[in-house]
Symmetry: C2
Subunit: 433 residues, 2 copies
Amino acid sequence: MYDGLKGFRDFYPGEMSARRAVTDTIEERVRRYGFREIGTPALERTQMYVDKSGEEIVDELYAFEDKGGRSVALTPELTPTVARMVVARQGALSRPIKWFSTRSFWRYEQVQQGRFREFYQTNVDIFGSSRPESDAEILAVAADLMTDLGLEVDEFEFRVSHRDILGGLLESLDSEVETADAIRAVDKREKIDRKAYYDLLVDAGLSRGEAERFDDVLGTDDLDDLVAFADTERVSAAVENLRAVLEAAADFGVREYCTVSLETARGLDYYTGVVFECFDTAGEVSRSVFGGGRYDDLIGGFGGQPTPAVGVGIGHETLSLLCQRAGVWPDETVETDYYVLTVGDTRDVAARIARDLRELGHVVESDLHGRGFGDQLSYADGIGAETVVIVGEQDLEDDCVTIKDMRSGEQTKVPLAEFPPAEGRPTYDEYAE
Amino acid sequence: MYDGLKGFRDFYPGEMSARRAVTDTIEERVRRYGFREIGTPALERTQMYVDKSGEEIVDELYAFEDKGGRSVALTPELTPTVARMVVARQGALSRPIKWFSTRSFWRYEQVQQGRFREFYQTNVDIFGSSRPESDAEILAVAADLMTDLGLEVDEFEFRVSHRDILGGLLESLDSEVETADAIRAVDKREKIDRKAYYDLLVDAGLSRGEAERFDDVLGTDDLDDLVAFADTERVSAAVENLRAVLEAAADFGVREYCTVSLETARGLDYYTGVVFECFDTAGEVSRSVFGGGRYDDLIGGFGGQPTPAVGVGIGHETLSLLCQRAGVWPDETVETDYYVLTVGDTRDVAARIARDLRELGHVVESDLHGRGFGDQLSYADGIGAETVVIVGEQDLEDDCVTIKDMRSGEQTKVPLAEFPPAEGRPTYDEYAE
């Protein structure tokens, strides 16, 4: 007997049906916004990730040398791949490029709640537009798919910020600050204690006094305070852009899901503009569910023409935890429209009925075991059959079949010539007197 | 600029939309037969494939040692994984177990037409039933999905055989024959010349005379000839089972797609009963599109209770070549129901209309570039928009929007309060006088 690998999961039909329903809901909403599905490989050259994220990333990758001597890695994220695809056809693609896909990714990480070594994401990206409408459309499609899943406005929020606000505030200080380090410190602000947080800021080059004043202004409700604190063109422009995105989000009907939160900085250095994280606000543990933002420099860094970009990567594992906590995770059950039950030598008629019902679009099973009446009925119950069509030798002599409602147990005879009808989903209720 | 790996493909939206349509058609049909979707990992322990297929398989695998020192491989096929899953829950799963999934697999192979290093398959399997109805249901679901794709009865055929017929015929000879080698020779019969084929049979232990008589009887139309040739219980039972499967296939409405062809032996040793291959019969090159069959020994070999099994693995690459050759491959284009065009400062109203149309289930795009009228219209044309809704400042003063049919170019004004209506898919035709 073999076992699967740690951090990799098998999904049996019940759980899979819930995951499929959630994925379908997400993708249906994304499609309505005009995002187009793409297909991407599971393996890429390791160098691509090293160039984007530094040599350390290799420790997290499933990286190896293939039989042709290439250094390859199981893709840990989608962004480098789509950037490569945009560059490869940059002349031929009309703008905006709006792409999505749902697939698995892999990282060699510690396994914990909501974190696996194989995990699933729906990535949604817009390339080619630097306008606030693009940032807002990413917020809008993300908010809409959350409500499509049944989540309410008080159950999640998008904490929205702008990468240049933090960068600009830090730049405006007298000290020489390592901006990336300081932003990483801000990203950890809620996860570590105050002292450790200040220490990180000081490590990044701030004086203790600057760290305190900087932290103060991060807490403001008034974006004008930021402009005044920094008194630089960079912060003014960032605040203006953030406001423009929020105004577009208001026009797009999703402003109510957005909270300005400057502490939201995203851990990844490649973001360049508005960034956001979706938080589970009603849960006992306020946790980040997924995030996204603007990354205008990546395509240029990949050797393409400078191309603005904004996107979101929706992690299905944390999202499913949120849905379960909120009570909107779909039932993990299988469903069946009809079970066609044979009694005696009636396989040919039963098969014809099953076939006709399938042509109408229904899910239909029939006997594959040569089982008796009771065992077939019990199997039909096990697969959640709504209706059982009993095709018995006796009934067929009267040119009838019996339609049984599995919930009530009631049944009635129906002329064989009338079943199934040319359309619809005939159940017991339609034939009962 | 980076390039992708050889044998791995990027699918841009046009091609992807066709692939998605084909996958949806396949899966819709499979679901109607009551097969339930499962989710499976991309990595497994290498040993599982070695135990099933021998040490040579490692040469074809993307196998490596992970950071925890485990020998792992990118899954080259689904069967060992589902066998592992059946064994892991064998007490809890009610029979028959009917599973399907569509996903990618990986083999380090020579890249050629219809063969890539990353390839896609829909696997459909039934576990727990040894009855001919199970074999026939696999044939039926496969035949139905082919016709759902638009393929006609004269464009493909299932060449059906039984593994024990070949084995039994060989066993009945006087010489000591290496059955697996001889069956592999038969599997190559149509791909190599006569002399090389006979040489392979002789290598497998047949005398030259036996090789000729054996080859003769393979060509017969009459299954009784086989029974007479071998005169063994094994061949009689295999012929009886094959006939029973074909009778069930007749009841299931798919007998016409099946041809008895004893040369069809499938290259894999683990098949134990009825085997079949789908051939493209109308193409210039008669080629195998996909195949399947019964493999009753695998689950027992994986440490589980003996569990009969039958299935099919539908390779999307060869299937797409068949569909393209037959002219039923879906258009590789993107489609859009509405483009909502803004003229002047009308973003709020345009966004509200776009939102309402999306709530009705439609695919809707709007401007993300701050473009003028002509550029927006040209973008709408590029994304295949059927209808353009023009939201202009002038029109809004009259409480109107303009509905433009993109095929004819005709347009008409509609009161803002009436657009969109509470349901349906309003086009120009509904408003034109």
